[in-house]
């Protein structure tokens, strides 16, 4: 009897059936934001690390400052800031863009630090040897240093990327229609927590394979030379 009531509350098939399409819709929106964040964040982080390698003092000062700020601020504060504070000075963006931009910036900051650490880990002798064979600075950077640096950075970068893509759930706070938002809306319409269970299952389906992929990557590309 108790068990039946429990099942009726948390695993109410009728409610689940009703809201399943919404959760599936949210599932794809979560994937969409996550992919957009991964692409933008890693590409811009790589670019910043490459720029930093030129060691132009004034430029690097701003890169380090920006990266530090983005690592110190909670992502939710960034999202709220973009969505609720920027309109005060006439900058308006959709909730989707605010979430995407905030998470991409955070990933950019972490990716830049990781790529930069990778660049530093390539011994100085490699630079000198490459330059002495007649390669230019840019050629040395892109064809000798980066291939080694990137390989070393794959495990920490994968883990960080996974952690940040889980932040897509924060989009629910500004009503982006991803999984959590759909589950939460369905919960408040039905006043039944089954949609939350459904949402949780959706996250498990999405992130458990990703977590195992992360573990595999960690074993496959050990941080060593």
């Amino acid at each position: 009897m108790q068990l039946e009531r429990l099942a009726d509350t948390f695993f109410n098939l009728q409610v689940m059936q009703q809201y399943l399409p919404k959760i599936v819709e949210g599932f794809f929106i979560t994937i969409q934001i996550a992919l957009a964040v991964v692409l933008a964040g890693i590409a811009s982080g790589l670019l910043l690390a490459l720029v930093r390698a030129f060691r132009i003092r004034a430029v690097n000062f701003f890169i380090i400052l920006g990266v530090d700020v983005l690592r110190a601020l909670p992502p939710l504060v960034l999202i709220i800031g973009f969505y609720f504070a920027l309109p005060a000075i006439g900058v308006r963006m959709s909730a989707w863009v605010a979430t995407w931009l905030a998470l991409s910036l955070v990933l950019m900051a972490f990716a830049e630090e990781i790529f930069w650490a990778g660049i530093l880990a390539v011994p100085k002798g490699q630079w000198e040897a490459a330059r002495s064979t007649g390669l230019s600075f840019v050629q040395t950077l892109t064809e000798v240093v980066m291939p080694q640096a990137v390989r070393m950075t794959i495990p920490p970068l994968t883990n960080r990327t996974i952690a940040i893509t889980k932040g897509t759930a924060l989009g629910a706070v500004v009503a982006v229609g991803e999984i959590l938002y759909q589950a939460q809306t369905a919960y408040s319409f039905s006043y039944n927590p089954s949609p939350l269970v459904l949402g949780a299952v959706a996250y498990l389906i999405l992130f458990i394979p990703v977590a195992y992929f992360g573990r595999w990557v960690e074993k496959r590309f050990v941080w060593k030379r």
């Binding site: 429990l6 509350t9 948390f10 530090d68 700020v69 690592r71 110190a72 601020l73 909670p74 992502p75 939710l76 504060v77 709220i80 800031g81 609720f84 504070a85 920027l86 005060a88 000075i89 630090e113 650490a117 990778g118 530093l120 880990a121 952690a163 889980k166 932040g167 897509t168 759930a169 924060l170 629910a172 706070v173 999984i179 959590l180 589950a183 939460q184 919960y187 927590p193 939350l196 269970v197 949402g199 949780a200 996250y203 498990l204 992130f207 458990i208 990703v210 977590a211 941080w223 060593k224 030379r225």
Partner: protein, 223 residues
């Protein structure tokens, strides 16, 4: 420019919002002071259980860690805050936040401690045991001190993440810093409180970021 200052750096608004922000700040500090030490302790327990000789214990730990690391922390929080009351137990916002952050962060800390323990050579256990130390003594006096030293940067990194995660509490209306800022914004129709909250987070967490960055570069240079 004037418009920017009026909207984002308005001292009149700031002085009105200050008491609210300050109360929020202390709530954030309180949450962090509760969750970080308990999370560290929980993580250590998780890591010790993963070295257990009982297969069942090791399995349970793997399930615990994978489960709570796969969930976005906000999803966990929603579940605890809105789901638990249906089981006849209403934890209240503070406990719900603390519990969800604890479940999340103890699995992260656990993985970090486990990596540290695994970084200590098997011979150290054997040498310690052969001098007559018991298993718990070996763990406490020989393995853990070295293991923890090896993972200090990761521990700091995760601590930074947990402190940032306390901002999720705003979603279940626990009046911590971010919630206080949002509340002050809607009372004053001005975005200054949100900017101020951002600056407070920045001032408090920036030293931790610097420290971490230094560790990371040194760690790589050692390779």
């Amino acid at each position: 420019m004037d418009h920017l200052i009026h909207s984002f750096f308005n001292f009149e608004i700031l002085s009105q919002a200050w008491p609210l922000l300050l109360a929020g700040f202390w709530m954030t500090v309180g949450l962090a002071l509760l969750v970080v030490p308990l999370g560290l302790a929980g993580g250590l327990l998780v890591a010790l259980a993963s070295t257990s000789r009982h297969r069942l214990a090791r399995w349970l730990v793997v399930i615990y860690v994978d489960f709570f690391r796969a969930f976005p922390p906000l999803v966990l929080l929603m579940f605890i805050a809105f789901g638990l009351p249906f089981l006849g137990f209403n934890p209240g916002a503070f406990i719900a936040v603390a519990l969800s952050l604890l479940l999340n962060t103890s699995s992260y800390y656990g993985e970090i401690f486990r990596a540290g323990i695994e970084s200590i050579a098997r011979g150290q256990h054997e040498a310690a045991r052969s001098t007559g130390l018991s298993v718990p003594q070996t763990m406490a006096y020989v393995v853990l001190p070295q293991a923890i030293k090896n993972v200090v940067p990761d521990l700091i990194s995760n601590t930074l993440e947990v402190i940032k995660l306390t901002s999720l509490a705003s979603v279940v209306a626990l009046p911590e810093l971010l919630y206080a800022a949002r509340q002050a914004q809607s009372l004053t129709y001005n975005a200054t409180p949100i900017i101020a909250a951002g600056i407070i987070y920045l001032v408090c967490l920036w030293p931790l970021v610097r420290l971490l960055s230094r560790f990371e570069h040194r760690q790589i240079a050692l390779h």
